[in-house]
Symmetry: C2
Subunit: 370 residues, 2 copies
């Protein structure tokens, strides 16, 4: 199957898999698609290790990395202030009460300091640190850099492209897609509101054709609500050059999720993937749990703006995870979680997707003949 | 083009058009699709007049009616209490302040009483009144009754079907679709969250395949986010037997909207179609305006549950409409509003939709040959 992006990247299938898990990345690329490692916030030495592993396991197939392309104009200020001092005392009181009432155990004294520091380092990444991460990525034979947030500086985009690497960006609005064209990216990923993680409010069915029209002839990947072949057929029928998937890989044997969290995903329905500001202060679609519900309780404060919400809640989230407090566990996931009911494998997902895609495309053709 | 629903209803095109405007209904049916008059809340004599007009203008083609199929178990209680007394005084104060600050003129004294009574009659419709409306519809040569809300009683469904009329229901969740199968409907309309009017939270891309799988082999119409041929191709590729459209007809010369409101729709972007409880107390997607924004202001009360919110706000909404207060005007509309930029005609919409559908289906076929 050949589209503008399979030609551009030399891949066989227009299926892109976003994952924080190197196994998923390597396996999707080996299956003919393109694995993309979600690496923003990784410490540089960790990214180095993951990419070295992928290089050794990807059989020379192309793969990509998704990270924050540093933008010095927007990010410079973040490292300079004591952000912790900007979190209101009553907000801290709300979190403390919730932890007590939810029986969420404290962090072990011995590890607490190091854990906090590591998490905060992610949030407070400076442009220099983001640049360092990008350099690590560029020192590997990657085929694609995807910019996770905002519009990357034009010079950085060209510098990456001069190394023979393609650059893409995620967008949730047609206007944002036009800004990416200006910045010189090779293609955009139009992500509808049903997707997991940070999303806008426009659904895939409405967003994809808008973005496709806005940036034509630049290729567009369709994202948000894609986990199976009929959805892939819909995206390609609408003119997308490929599909970008994320949530579906969380349910595979290879995924990074703990068994407990995986079971919670398998039990969830589509409307359990709720858009909430609980995690980062920006609307992020995630598994509904007490952690998302607590902000809806009477008297709860409004989540703080980014990055304060992440800073304020990071310790609580570590306590939930390490304490194994199931009813508070959450994870970014899209509405397709409702179709994920049991553990599968990366290869099975790819095969099922292709089978159903072919069936869907044929049945649409058959309609035209009646 | 033949699908399960075109065969069932004897129509040429699997395009269903929901409209409150008889001209749109008749013209879509004459073009080979199926116009469906949204009639819930019409006074019986008005419905009689509209249907007689359609009968005279539809050239014998099939058309449908969308209304509340009376369910005596759920609705009996509504007429019996003084609902107005359940609206808190501070809530009324909020509306009064907003009207004053928004320069929304009062209703003319002479008409105020009659206007209020007419609007409240809609909201407080008894099962007997709903039954009367259904009887008016059944006395015309309609081909289809669509149930606007909830699950209709099985006996009423069979009685309608015994007259050779098909019955369908709108659903926003797979579980609800299964209840409709139990009630004996002929098909369901799966409506994603991007649609205008009352919607759930699950987007079309995720909802459609879930409902299609849940009720198979019963046919499913795809609704929510469909205004053009590429979206129709996506729906049919995913296995829908047809498409259900609404918002797109609001921008036609034939639509019921005032020129001012139509211009506001043409200026709106996809994310100006917001889900709000402002109109009815239930989440309803509508054009963003001061009327939806006012509930988000600091100190604003939460909208009341249905039907109190409608009762509480009906006078304000009449004042906005009759006073021509543009910045407060709203109307139920879906996210496809972002693609509606100028007035068109019903026939043009149908032709454009078909043209683009054929192109989209062919380009998907071509992909399979590479």
């Amino acid at each position: 199957m050949r589209t503008a992006v399979t030609n551009m990247l030399g891949i066989e299938l227009p299926i892109f898999a976003f994952s924080h898990c190197r196994d998923v990345v390597a396996e999707v690329s080996r299956a003919g698609g393109m694995g993309v490692l979600g690496a923003s916030g990784f410490p540089p030495e960790w990214l180095e290790e993951e990419l070295a592993w992928i290089d050794a396991h990807v059989d020379g197939k192309p793969y990509g990395v998704d990270l924050l392309i540093p933008n010095t104009y927007e990010k410079r200020a973040v490292g300079d202030v004591d952000l912790n001092s900007l979190i209101p005392a009553e907000f801290k009181g709300f979190l403390d009460r919730e932890c007590t009432e939810g029986n969420i155990p404290p962090l072990p004294e011995s590890e607490a300091h190091a854990l906090r520091a590591a998490q905060l380092a992610k949030v407070r990444m400076t442009p220099e640190q983001a640049a360092e991460l990008l350099e690590v990525a560029l020192s590997h034979p990657i085929a694609l850099v995807v910019n996770a947030l905002g519009t990357p500086p034009r010079e950085t985009v060209s510098r990456i492209q001069q190394q023979g690497i393609r650059v893409a960006s995620l967008v949730g609005k047609a206007e944002h897609a036009l800004a990416q064209v200006e910045a010189g990216v090779d293609f955009v990923v139009a992500q509808g509101s049903e997707a997991g993680g940070h999303t806008g409010s426009i659904s895939s069915m409405v967003l994809w054709p808008q973005v496709i029209d806005a940036v034509a002839p630049m290729p567009v990947l369709a994202a948000g609500g894609i986990a199976r072949g009929s959805q892939m057929a819909a995206a390609l029928a609408m003119g997308a050059a490929g599909v970008w998937t994320g949530s579906v890989w969380l349910g595979t044997a290879q995924s990074e999720l703990s068994p407990v969290l995986k079971q919670r995903l398998f039990a969830a329905r589509a409307d359990d993937a709720v858009q909430s500001r609980a995690m980062t202060g920006k609307p992020c679609r995630m598994l509904r749990s007490e952690f998302s519900d607590m902000w809806l309780r009477p008297g709860a404060p409004k989540p703080l703006p980014m990055p304060l919400q992440t800073i304020a809640t990071v310790e609580m989230r570590m306590r939930i995870e390490r304490g194994g407090v199931e009813n508070y566990m959450s994870y970014p996931v899209g509405q397709v979680v409702g179709d994920m009911t049991h553990e599968t494998s990366v290869r099975q997902v790819v095969m099922d997707m292709l089978d159903e895609f072919v069936d869907a495309a044929h049945s649409l053709s058959a309609l035209m003949e009646d």
